[in-house]
Structures are given as structure tokens and as C-alpha cells.
């Protein structure tokens, strides 16, 4: 990755809990701990991949970083030209400025575009809102972003139903790019697409990143897609980060038992690799009643006594880039 690592997001102990209420007085009886204490720096220009099974809180994490979901606790500091500001305490005006810098691409391109509006109208709106006054200027920007995603500019007068899934996702990406953001949060951008179309969109996203020097937060459940896109990968399990590593290191030397299991569960389209499958027993526990200790302990093949009582802390290896939350690596051992 880039040599001078400038931090763009500094996330500290981020928690997003959804309260469960009961009765007429809406008494809080519990919390769905969707994101439960995530701390991490995101560097400028990198692609941070976020993987995990459904319900592990990866989408909620993306939404919280974008402030579409209000965090329960913790800080998200964003680098405004060298100055870090905590976006959780932003006023409406500050938030407006922040939104220009950080944009989001959603999972389902079929529901992300208003079917009753022409693409032109959908594309014009963010520009109007963000103060591009003249129509000529707006149109110039629209043409520009459409060119970036390889869609003919005269398609602007069409309706969303006239486009295929892949084209729609490219339109969604183009719309996010209109305000010239620095960060793009992509929540499962290719999981609704076919494999042949998926590759088109992934490559396009890579080219755009190179041209615009974007930072990507790339959320997906498909580890092979994330590994293709990301420089660093963060693995989540039940709202917590279990491992963060360089994408190559994570693939070659996974440390956390969950990451190992996740990697071995991926079917490989090659009939000559004889891979020893490690199949996880059971399912992800409910995020309401998390097991005590390490959240993974009841499925972990290497579970120890301490795992059942004590939540493991994040441990860094020597380089400081490979982080893992597992008792196997604590106790002074240097991995």
C-alpha cells in the first residue's frame, strides 16, 4: 500500500446497539449488539475489505461510519484536510460537508434507483443539493461520471428499468462519484450480480479507485471477492473484529480459528486442489445473548478454558499490521 500512510478515519471503540423494548413504556429489556467495540484506523487510498457471515454487523458498521446509524458509544474521527473531527458530534451543517467526502453504494441496484424518475433526475439531485448552481455545470459533471463507468451519456434520459443489473450498479457508483468523494463505502456491491457481470463491476471499481485516489470500505460476504479487491481485510464475528491483516497475509497465514474456518469453507473452482475441509459446527449465536468470553468459543475447534470466561483483547504481531483477537496468541507468545 501507499508508503506514507495517512489516516482518513480513526475509529475508536465504536458500538452500535439496537435496543429491544417491551411493554407500553418501552422498557429496554436487551440490546442487539450489532457493532460491539470496533477500533481501527483506515488509511487514505486503501481498500479495506470487511467480511463476515450475515448478522455479524458488517453492514451496520458501514452505515455507522457514514452516520446513517447513530452509534451508541465510541468515536469516529474523520480527517478533514489534516484535522481530525469526531463525526458523531457533528451538527447538521458539518454533516452536510462530511457527506460530500463520504458516499455509499448499496447492495441492491434494483431498489437504489427511483423507478419513476429518469436517470437524469436521480443524478441531478445530489448536485443541486450540494450547490452546483447552473444546469450546464451539472450536466458536465454528469457526463463526466457516466464516462467513468462506461455508460453512454445519452442514456441519462432513460428510466432505471431499461438497464441491466450490472449497468444499474454502475449507475449507482456513478451517482456516488458525482460529488467527488474521498471515501466510498460499498455495501455488498456485487452480490446481486452474475459472475460475468460481477467481474466487470469489480474491475471498473479498481480503475476508478486508481484514477480518483479513492478510499474504499468494501463490505462483502464473499471472501474471494474481498481478497481480490482489498489491501487490508477486517474479519468480523458477532459485532467484534476478530482479525485484521494485509489481504495477502490473511490468505496465506490466517491466525484466528474463525478466519481459518471461513477460508476453508470457500469452494474452490479447481478440481486438483485437495483441500482439507474444516467444517464449523453449529451456527452464529444470537447477538442478543452473546456467549460469555470469546463470542466464537462454542464453535471453535481450539477452544480453551479461558475462552469461555474472558473476552480476548486485540493482539498485534511484530509488524503491528496483523491484528488478531484470540487467546491462542496471548500469553506472551510472539507469532
Amino acid at each position: 500500500m501507499s508508503e506514507n500512510k495517512e489516516v482518513i478515519f480513526r475509529i475508536k471503540n465504536l458500538k452500535t446497539w439496537f435496543p429491544i423494548t417491551k411493554g407500553a413504556f418501552k422498557k429496554v429489556v436487551g440490546n442487539v449488539k450489532a457493532v460491539d467495540g470496533v477500533g481501527l484506523d483506515i488509511y487514505k487510498g486503501e481498500t479495506l475489505g470487511i467480511v463476515g457471515e450475515s448478522g455479524c454487523g458488517k453492514s451496520t458498521f458501514g452505515k455507522t461510519v457514514m452516520m446513517l446509524e447513530k452509534p451508541t458509544d465510541g468515536q469516529v474521527e474523520f480527517n478533514f484536510g489534516g484535522e481530525f473531527k469526531d463525526i458523531t458530534k457533528f451538527t447538521k451543517d458539518e454533516m452536510f460537508e462530511f457527506r460530500k467526502k463520504v458516499q455509499m453504494v448499496f447492495q441492491d441496484p434494483y431498489s437504489a434507483l427511483n423507478p419513476q424518475k429518469k436517470i437524469y433526475t436521480s443524478f441531478e439531485e445530489p448536485l443541486k443539493v450540494h450547490g452546483v448552481k447552473t444546469e450546464a455545470e451539472r450536466e458536465k459533471i454528469m457526463q463526466q461520471v457516466l464516462k467513468m463507468v462506461n455508460i453512454q451519456p445519452d442514456y441519462l434520459m432513460r428510466y432505471p428499468h431499461e438497464f441491466s443489473g450490472g449497468q444499474r450498479q454502475r449507475l449507482c457508483i456513478a451517482r456516488a462519484l458525482e460529488v467527488m468523494p474521498e471515501v466510498l463505502i460499498c455495501d455488498e456491491p456485487v452480490s446481486a450480480l452474475d459472475v460475468s457481470i460481477q467481474a466487470q463491476v469489480l474491475n471498473l471499481m479498481k480503475y476508478i479507485q486508481r484514477d480518483m485516489k479513492l478510499t474504499y470500505l468494501f463490505i462483502a460476504h464473499d471472501l474471494s471477492v474481498v481478497q481480490y479487491m482489498a489491501d487490508r481485510i477486517m474479519v468480523m464475528y458477532l459485532g467484534k473484529v476478530v482479525e485484521v491483516a494485509d489481504s495477502k497475509a490473511l490468505y496465506e497465514k490466517p491466525m484466528h480459528p474463525y478466519t481459518k474456518a471461513l477460508l476453508s469453507a470457500i469452494p474452490v473452482p479447481d478440481i486438483h486442489t485437495t483441500k482439507k475441509r474444516q467444517i464449523l459446527e453449529g451456527e452464529v449465536p444470537s447477538p442478543i445473548n452473546k456467549p460469555a468470553g470469546c463470542a466464537f468459543h462454542n464453535r471453535c475447534p481450539q477452544c480453551m478454558e479461558i475462552c469461555k470466561t474472558k473476552d480476548p483483547d486485540m493482539i498485534r504481531d511484530q509488524g503491528g499490521e496483523h491484528m488478531v483477537a484470540c487467546h491462542l496468541y496471548s500469553g506472551g507468545k510472539d507469532q
Partner: protein, 342 residues
């Protein structure tokens, strides 16, 4: 090959739908055979007709569907004797002949376990229904059978789970219940239509292990519809690649993965991101999009996206050629080989 070895023999299956008074051909002259005790994988992108093909065989299609075939033959093996059933001769899709076959002989596992169970019935009753229908078994006895099957399929604590409703189950457990419904009458042929697409990878691995188990230990024949090339490599004995309603390549797993011949199959295999790609390596893409089945021109359906397309590819119907025993490819590049049906 004789009827002992072949469990399902489909010849020249065509399915079209009537929409806006227009006939749209979705499945076009599809032929394939499923060998007894093996897994056939049908792969292709969405809209290629893989599900419609299987639904045509099972007769699960709506009233606007027109199915025709030269032969859809199911060979049942009971106590060492073969009974032939010619499914194409049955007039009614819900007639007694079809209903007798569905369940005890061939059954289907659907894609979405969330919507293929009835939310207002207990799962145990839903599983037992087929058994009671087909064998006239009493409720108590059926319940025992269901418990036994739940145990075999790895549903924990079956005695209490049998009286639960679908919403009390997780996705992976629901899919096990759906598999139980398909398995309860002990069919020989199980058609699985994207059984794990809605599930997480770790759960997918569990379900696939279960299916593999059923095939190896109980000699079931499985048709696995999927778009995941990884699953194909792990599960299949034979592979059938479909594009725009036609079989473009058919062969054994080794044929299709090691001697990949059709340009579409090649492109499909190369466009899948795999773990451990080298740094800076760019995925190959298939240019263009799948055409709309309602406005198909003549010639090869893949012509517009194919790197090896020639003038000849754009005319007439492209036949299939047998480039090795049992390995057929629908591409004019191989026209020096003998032409075959399919």
C-alpha cells in the same frame, strides 16, 4: 448405456412461455442424462434456463408454460427391477401419475428455505405430510420416521424441534428441514435448485457435506443447479453448462474443468475471483450482457460476447459436437468432430 445405469434421460426438451401473446423460448432442445448414484451439476448465469429445465421435468411450471420433449424417461430401480416412466406422455402436470412420482421417486429442494416452508404449520407436520400422503402411514408412525430423519440430517434436539414453527429455525436449519421434506419418502433422484445460495459459506459447507453424504452412503442421484463454479468442482461427477436455454457444454468434471472447450465456459471459469490471485492481477471479464430471450437472433447466442466469433457463428442453429467420449460442445470451432444430438 442401459436403464440400470441411467436414472433420468431427457431428449430434446423445449420449454416456452406465452407472454403478451408472444411465445418466448426459454429452454431449447436440451438433452442430458443423469447416471444412477452420481451428481450432475447444471451451471449457468441467472436466466439461462437451468431452473426452468428442472421445473419442466418435475412439471412445476405455471399455466403459461408450454413443455414439449421427445423423451423424458425416469428409470426407477425397485428391488433390482427397472420400471420405466415416460414423463412426457403425462398430459396433466398435477395428474395422479406425476403426483405418484414426486416424493417417493424424485423430489426437489428449492433455493430459498425462508419461503419454501409454510409459516403457519409446524415443521414436523410439513415433513410428515408427504409420508402420510404416499404411504398411508399413521401420524404416530410418521412422526417417528421424521424424528429419525431429523437425527440423520443433523438437526439438534429433534424431539423438541419437531414441534417448532419455521420462524424459530435459522436459515441453515430451515434448509435441512426442506431437505428432510425432499428425503422423507426416500426418493432416488433429488434435484437441488441452488440449495445454498441464500446461506452463508460456513453453513453452505455443512449442507454440501450433508448432500455428499447422502449420495455416497445411500447411492442417491443428485442434480445440483448452481452458479457457483467452486461448488461444481467439489460436488459434481458430470457438468452441464447452459447459456440462453441451450446446453453449450456437457461432460465429466475433468472434461469441463481440464479440457474446457466452449468459449463461454472458459470465460465463466476465468471471471470467478479465486483466493490467492497474484497482486495486481486483473480479472477477465465477459464483455456485454446476456441478451433478452425475447429477441434472439439466429446463430450462436454467445456470438456477440465471444472472442472467437466468426461470420459462420451468426447463422442457423449451431449443433453440438462430440469432441471426446461423452464430452459435447456446442461451438463451430469443433466442427471437425462428429455432430451429436443435445
Amino acid at each position: 448405456m442401459n436403464n440400470q445405469e441411467i436414472i433420468l434421460d431427457v431428449k430434446n426438451l423445449n420449454t416456452s412461455f406465452i407472454s403478451d401473446r408472444k411465445q418466448v423460448d426459454i429452454v431449447k432442445s436440451v438433452s442430458f442424462q443423469v447416471k444412477r448414484g452420481t451428481t450432475l451439476s447444471v451451471v449457468g448465469e441467472s436466466g439461462c434456463g437451468k431452473s426452468v429445465t428442472m421445473n419442466s421435468i418435475m412439471r412445476f411450471l405455471g399455466s403459461n408454460a408450454r413443455v414439449s420433449a421427445d423423451n423424458i424417461q425416469y428409470n426407477a430401480l425397485r428391488d433390482g427391477e427397472i420400471t420405466e416412466y415416460h414423463l412426457e406422455t403425462y398430459k396433466k402436470s398435477n395428474g395422479p401419475e406425476m403426483r405418484a412420482l414426486r416424493g417417493p421417486d424424485m423430489s426437489m429442494v428449492f433455493q430459498d428455505p425462508m419461503s419454501s416452508l409454510n409459516p403457519v404449520y409446524k415443521v414436523g407436520d410439513q415433513v410428515a405430510e408427504g409420508l402420510i400422503q404416499h404411504t398411508g402411514m399413521g401420524k404416530k408412525e410418521a412422526r417417528e420416521k421424521v424424528l429419525e430423519l431429523f437425527r440423520k440430517l443433523g438437526i439438534p434436539d429433534p424431539e423438541s424441534r419437531i414441534d417448532c414453527y419455521p420462524h424459530q429455525f435459522s436459515g441453515g436449519m430451515k434448509q435441512r428441514v426442506v431437505i428432510a421434506i425432499a428425503m422423507i419418502c426416500n426418493p432416488e433422484l433429488i434435484i437441488c435448485d441452488e440449495p445454498t445460495t441464500a446461506l452463508d459459506v460456513t453453513i453452505q459447507a455443512q449442507i454440501m457435506e450433508l448432500l455428499k453424504d447422502l449420495q455416497v452412503n445411500e447411492g442417491k442421484s443428485i442434480v445440483l443447479i448452481t452458479h457457483n463454479m467452486g461448488l461444481v468442482a467439489e460436488m459434481a461427477d458430470e457438468v452441464c453448462v447452459m447459456y440462453m436455454g441451450r446446453v453449450v457444454e456437457f461432460g465429466s468434471l475433468e472434461d469441463v474443468f481440464d479440457h474446457t472447450s466452449h468459449p463461454y465456459t472458459k470465460a465463466l471459469l476465468r471471471s470467478v475471483p479465486v483466493l490467492g490471485l497474484a497482486d495486481g492481477q486483473i480479472l477477465e471479464t465477459i464483455p456485454g450482457i446476456t441478451p433478452n430471450p425475447a429477441d434472439i437472433k439466429g446463430g450462436c447466442d454467445f456470438a456477440d460476447r465471444c472472442p472467437d466469433c466468426t461470420e459462420r457463428c451468426r447463422q442457423g442453429v449451431i449443433p453440438a459436437f462430440e469432441i471426446a467420449k461423452g464430452h459435447r460442445v456446442r461451438c463451430l470451432k469443433y466442427d471437425s468432430f462428429p455432430e451429436v444430438n443435445g
